[in-house]
Symmetry: C2
Subunit: 437 residues, 2 copies
């Protein structure tokens, strides 16, 4: 039998501790399944004194992750520190350059430096695995990198951020406001004290950039992504969506268009019956539309120590077995630059909620502005609240909800700008894109 694989782990937060516990618990099975043992022989973290609930006694301690990455006593460097900069970046680079495979859960690092790191791995003939970086325990990276090698993918989209999905789920189910749900999510530890990175869609965008590269063979390019978060979503939108047969999810979507690859993150209306609409709470999900076959959807835990460690360990096991695929599923030299499809050219259905001034001519004015942009309406609902005037109607406005047939983003923006200039609405119109699925 081959010698055990010697693993060095940098970063001993919840994921690192869970990884050490899982390797210990699964020792015999891992040896049988990989044809060799997996030994965590060295670790690195800030505080040696901290009790992490796992036994580190037999492991060599490093206080500098870059030093660990270069240590000749390890075969694989596992980076669980996070962050797109140093020390993670230099440590992973150093490991790859010195002929060690690297495993990382770090989406930020890969979204920013993925191509360069992949080139380094290729040059050294080692693996760069990152199953945990998207959807944690969901085997989406392996599925795209190896499973769908012979498929032409038209579109990939997913719920990639548990915090946002948790908030939207609570808002919908309990008819609460965004602010209330965010507060509760923070109390429960599902949202950070500074939640902007999650709720403004940036976390989703980083993950989407990796999925898009794997799906379409393009160079990771986070800057090509249009990003909109969920903080503008109101309970009224979720109620309207429900009535219309939709749910609102924060999706990351990457799709082939005649203009190039359209990559976007925004609140999205999805048909209630779709697999992705059913995904509630902190759970993540990804749907792949490959040419000629019905969609494939993968659902599972997208965060948490054990779920992330599970993916990290599967990456380590691939290294132990000697399995090695190009980090983005193709030789790095064959990755193409993203031909960015501009968001103005996006085509799709739209949900538009306006507060229309309750006076003669308003409806005609709105309808005219939409018609000028050749926007056809699938439905239009104007609602006078049953329970007497609300705060809005008190101001002499009534909510109007429009659903358009497929039209262009540009047309919608122009039409709404014109409606605004006509002074027939109060406040800003709410616009949510509808994703066909």
């Amino acid at each position: 039998m081959t010698k055990p694989l010697r693993v060095g782990v940098a970063g001993l937060g919840t994921v690192g501790a869970a990884l050490i516990a899982q390797v210990a618990a699964q020792r015999a099975q891992l040896t049988a399944r990989c044809g060799r043992g997996i030994d965590i022989v060295a670790v690195c973290a800030r505080s040696k004194a901290k009790n992490r609930g796992v036994d580190l006694k037999k492991m060599k301690w490093f206080s500098d992750p870059v030093e660990l990455a270069g240590d000749p006593g390890i075969d694989v460097f596992v980076e669980l520190m996070g962050g797109s900069g140093d020390p993670a970046k230099t440590a992973v680079e150093f490991a790859l350059a010195s002929g060690k495979s690297a495993v990382t859960a770090n989406k930020a690092l890969l979204a920013k430096h993925g191509v360069k790191l992949a080139q380094l791995a290729e040059k050294s003939g080692v693996a760069l695995n990152y199953e945990a970086a998207v959807g944690a325990a969901i085997p989406i990276v392996k599925t795209l990198r190896e499973g769908l090698t012979g498929n032409s993918i038209d579109r990939i989209y997913g719920i990639l951020n548990g915090t946002c999905n948790y908030i939207l789920t609570r808002m919908e189910q309990e008819k609460l406001s965004f602010a209330e749900c965010l507060k509760q999510a923070q109390q429960l530890g599902y949202a950070e004290a500074n939640p902007a990175f999650d709720i403004e869609g940036h976390d989703t965008a980083q993950k989407l950039s990796l999925l898009a590269s794997l799906a379409f063979g393009t160079k990771v390019d986070q800057s090509a992504i249009y990003v909109e978060g969920i903080s503008s979503i109101a309970a009224a939108d979720l109620a309207a969506a429900d009535e219309l047969g939709y749910r609102v999810k924060l999706l990351g979507v990457a799709v082939k268009t005649p203009q190039g690859i359209e990559q976007r993150v925004h609140p999205t209306m999805v048909r209630k019956e779709s697999s992705i609409a059913q995904v509630m709470g902190v759970t993540n999900a990804v749907t792949i539309d490959a040419k000629g076959i019905n969609p494939i959807t993968l659902i599972g835990p997208g965060a948490g120590g054990a779920a992330t460690a599970s993916a990290v360990l599967s990456d380590i096991a691939d290294v132990a077995r000697g399995q090695k695929t190009s980090p983005f599923g193709r030789p790095t030299a064959s990755l193409t630059s993203v031909r960015k499809a501009p968001m103005q050219r996006h085509e799709g259905g739209y949900y538009i909620r306006l507060m229309a001034r309750d006076k003669p001519g308003t409806a005609a004015s709105i309808a005219t502005r939409l018609a000028e942009q050749e926007i056809s309406l699938e439905s239009i609902v104007q609602r006078h609240p049953k329970d007497g005037p609300s705060a809005d109607t008190a101001k002499g406005s009534v909510p109007v909800i429009l659903i358009t047939y497929a039209t262009s983003e540009d047309g919608v923006r122009k039409a709404l700008a014109a409606v605004g200039r006509d002074k027939v609405i109060s406040g800003r119109p709410q616009v949510i894109r509808i994703e066909k699925n």
Copy 2:
């Protein structure tokens, strides 16, 4: 660059033809992604004259699959003929024995001879890949074999037969009888002229036997599976399930119990909110419960030419890249014999629908018999049809629906036998197991 991988395909039905078309369409991408070309250089089928809509001109023609399997001009033998016996069996054996990797979509062959074939592959140091044998395009084999290498799996269950799920979906949505839906499924080509293999659960059982082996490291053993089909399911059951917050699905379930591995195929009540309950029509799905993490569910097309070919091609691509895992994820020698947990020891909730004779003492009698077996009831509903007496009530019977708390199969069977002897019900009781999820 390495020489192209030379592939021989035996069986040119819808899957074989779709595979040839997909390899042709994806030629450049496959070469880039695998680091070498994939060439289908030889084929074998019964009729050379038949028009299959694909170009076979450059391929060597064989009329004997075993001869193709032994041909030195191929590196991989792809078996798409089906059937657990010959010629598939001998051909795959011959390919493996002569040092060629084999790819097959043949669940029947693997359910019966999987261990022996895996031993052969191991001895020759070649791959035996069968992603298409379970859930077609769903990457479930790869996920279990490679993705969850370091996880301890507690339970795996799935909708593995599209015909049954199509019938149950139509019955539920359109309140039709089983017989009507089966007929329509046959007309649409979703069910065979002789549908017994599908609707009696045997197709599901063959697939489950493979999943169980992959999940638990046991030798494939179809005979260890308890099998019950869907032909007894009535529209009344689906309506009652709906009211109680459930859907009825034909599930294959394999679960670790203190008694051993319980493997069973039967109509199952699943909570409507679960991912698996949402899977409608011919779509397949598998849920994996691994220790310490929330469930992972994979959903996708479980049949059809293109979907099956997609999985076959991903298997071929793995061979082209030189990736090779043990066929069941572990060395064959380490696969354990199934310690079969007897169905009588099954513990779970039960849905029971009885036609109770409408006379004093009936309810007391039924309740007593259940109590004797220490069965606790979560709910009991006795319904006098609103629209006047039905065919049943005309006979002086009323439907009674019982939901039990977790109890043993043995207890339920004994209690119902006693109820039968008491002559307080007419007809056979309907029993559907409830799966916690």
